[in-house]
């Protein structure tokens, strides 16, 4: 028997700012410097990701999780953060780390799990932590860190401190009970949290936030401008003490037709074309940016490869009584 499938009446429209030709309707109001910075971060993230994937395949590092085109959402989610804000990245948020100012060397040290790594080689590189930049490590079970983000934002409110938290997660975490706990507590306690879903299901989540009495911004994950706009609204709401928001970043899917399969639009390429269209980015600049990113990645990996493994004595440090 075929189970009856409930089809929601009208999913929310996916918000897009960039048009089909990657043009934006009102260029005058857009912060071009932010977008240029963002593209630079995205390129650095993609290049570094590529080098780390190579190093993984070559057996030089034990683990790397490919970013899979997450750079647009990832760079966008860290864009509007101030120093006092907290970042709880997901597991494919290399670009968010770079956007937050983490040097490529630190990411490479974590990838090599060497003595200079942020965890003294104790954690997989995706569980990156950097207290000076208020970056807390993500959790392995999908939504564990979302509740931590709520607690950090809650603590800021209780102490009268500035600072909000942005927490990213992948759609797999939607089935986790802690996602519900995080959404519920954040709403009840009006915590200044922005939840960002890397949604690769191909469908919007629907107005998920409304069940928790907070807004959902459904945006095209390949549209840097739409992401930036949604994040800005969510961050403002959090800063003003009005509570959490959800940004549902819906990744476009590849389209298969009789003529073949068209790959999904790439947010990095779209932003580059948009900036090219405005005359702000050129092939020469693109080439230079890639060359610099590659040189930086090579330098970072070489530096990390030169650092020895953690001293075995550190196995027993950072424990109670140690």
């Amino acid at each position: 028997m075929t189970p009856e499938i409930h089809t929601p009446q009208g999913l929310p429209e996916v918000r897009r700012v960039l048009g089909p030709g990657n043009e934006a309707p009102s260029v005058a109001a857009l912060p071009k410097d932010d977008l240029l910075d963002m593209l630079g971060v995205m390129i650095r993230a993609r290049v570094l990701d590529g080098r780390l994937r190579q190093a993984h395949r070559q057996g030089r590092i034990a683990f790397h999780l490919p970013q899979g085109g997450a750079e647009t959402v990832s760079a966008a989610l860290a864009l509007g953060l101030a120093d006092q804000d907290w970042l709880f990245p997901g597991s494919r948020d290399l670009a968010a780390l770079l956007q937050r100012g983490v040097p490529a060397e630190d990411i490479a040290h974590a990838a090599y799990a060497n003595a200079a790594s942020c965890s003294k080689g104790r954690a997989l590189p995706i569980f990156f932590s950097d207290k000076a930049r208020r970056i807390a490590p993500t959790g392995a079970t999908g939504a564990t860190h979302l509740v931590h983000a709520v607690g950090a934002a809650w603590a800021a409110r209780l102490q009268g401190l500035p600072g909000i938290a942005v927490a990213a997660f992948a759609d797999g975490a939607l089935a986790s009970g802690e996602l519900h706990a995080a959404f519920n507590i954040a709403s009840v306690q009006r915590c200044g949290v922005v939840f960002v879903c890397h949604n690769r299901t191909g469908l919007p989540l629907g107005d998920l936030g409304s069940g928790y009495a907070f807004p959902t911004h459904t945006v095209d994950a390949s549209d840097a401008l739409a992401l930036r706009e949604a994040l800005a609204m969510a961050v403002d709401r959090a800063r003003e003490g009005r509570g959490p928001s959800l940004v549902d970043a819906v990744y476009p899917m590849p389209v298969t037709t009789a003529a073949g399969t068209e790959p999904a639009p790439d947010g990095l390429v779209r932003l580059r074309r948009h900036l090219e269209g405005l005359g702000l980015w050129t092939a020469a600049r693109d080439q230079q940016c890639h060359a610099e990113a590659l040189a930086a990645a090579e330098t970072a990996l070489a530096a990390a490869a030169a650092v020895p493994a953690p001293d075995p004595a550190t196995l027993l440090t950072d424990l109670p009584g140690a």
Binding site: A136, G151, P320
Partner: protein, 324 residues
């Protein structure tokens, strides 16, 4: 010195610590205006307000997860798990996150969270309100596990726990909340974490216990004394870190050891203690190490007094080891 019961001493400790340190916040299910299901936090909400004594939604994973985030951002949260039996939904947050945050961030993020939880049986609570899950936490590096049995120790150990930068699982023997009474110093004082206490000094055997079972073991010691058998009775007070020195000092004197806990036998913390004694003092032992524990069953409702070790079972184990 005022005489308090164990519950009042917990409230006194929280009050004393909160008055001295603004970073300490109490949180949990009904801990606010209601004062907690056992009234451990009674009066704190009125005194410190809703921003420091926080009623939370009913989600243990959410409570623990939020407490971790609060600790990252400058607070020293004291989440209450209403019954230790309810801690399992928060187990991942405790053993994978709370216990490991400091280690996996190479010391960047200590997590000063004290998780209070009433534990143990004897209150007609059935299996959701009676369990003793201490061994699960003792198997988790990164935690301290503290189990007071008297009002004075409860206050002194809780104040010591609240001064730690590491997470502490603070297990309160709920059967003794009102049954245990004693003089408790006013104001701030600490009982050191990691130090056992000799409750009775004796020569024929060592009895180790913690929590409510210490009181049952005292009853057993009284019975045995009438038979001319004296025991060294140690209240461990802290299970992690364990006061091995005190245990070895006693067993090398008596050569006989009985370990008592409420939790089921298999995988219980008595097994770890027995192994340590075997490793360090086997040649001093005159008899096999015995365990008096709950049975390997779920915690029962109607038959809980058959399940729980009583003075007769403990006394019989001591007689057995002495007669070996």
């Amino acid at each position: 010195m005022p005489t308090l019961n164990l519950l009042q001493s917990i409230g006194d400790a929280l009050d004393t610590a909160m008055a001295a340190d603004d970073r300490i916040v109490v949180m949990g299910e009904d801990v606010g205006a209601f004062g907690g299901v056992f009234r451990a936090t009674s009066g704190l909400h009125q005194k410190y307000g809703e921003d420091r004594v926080i009623d939370t939604p009913l989600t243990e994973a959410g409570i623990l997860g939020a407490a971790i985030g609060m600790a990252l951002n400058g607070l020293r949260p004291v989440p209450e798990i209403q019954f230790a039996d309810f801690v399992y939904p928060a187990f991942d947050q405790i053993v994978n996150e709370l216990a490991k945050y400091r280690y996996r961030s190479a010391g960047q993020y200590p997590c000063p969270v004290v998780v209070r939880m009433p534990f143990g049986g004897g209150i007609k609570g059935g299996h959701y309100h009676s369990q003793s899950p201490e061994a699960y936490f003792c198997h988790t590096p990164g935690l301290k596990v503290v189990v007071p049995s008297t009002p004075e120790d409860a206050k002194g150990l809780l104040l010591a726990a609240l001064a730690q930068d590491d997470p502490v699982i603070f297990m309160e023997p709920k059967r003794m909340y009102r049954a245990a009474r004693g003089e408790v110093p006013e104001g701030a004082f600490q009982v050191p974490i990691g130090k056992a206490k000799v409750v009775r000094a004796g020569d024929h055997a060592t009895v180790l216990s913690w929590g409510a079972m210490v009181h049952t073991a005292i009853e057993a010691a009284d019975i045995l004394a009438t038979e001319g058998v004296t025991v060294d009775l140690l209240d461990l007070r802290t299970l992690l870190p364990l006061d091995l020195e005190a245990i070895l000092a006693s067993v090398t004197k008596t050569g006989r050891l009985v370990i008592v806990h409420e939790a089921p036998r298999t995988g219980g913390f008595a097994g770890e203690i027995a192994a340590l004694v075997a490793e360090h003092a086997l040649t001093s032992m005159e008899a096999p190490i015995l365990r008096v524990t709950g049975y390997d069953t779920p915690f029962p409702y109607a038959l809980e007094h058959h399940y729980l070790p009583d003075a007769a079972r403990i006394a019989q184990a001591v007689r057995q080891t002495v007669a070996f």
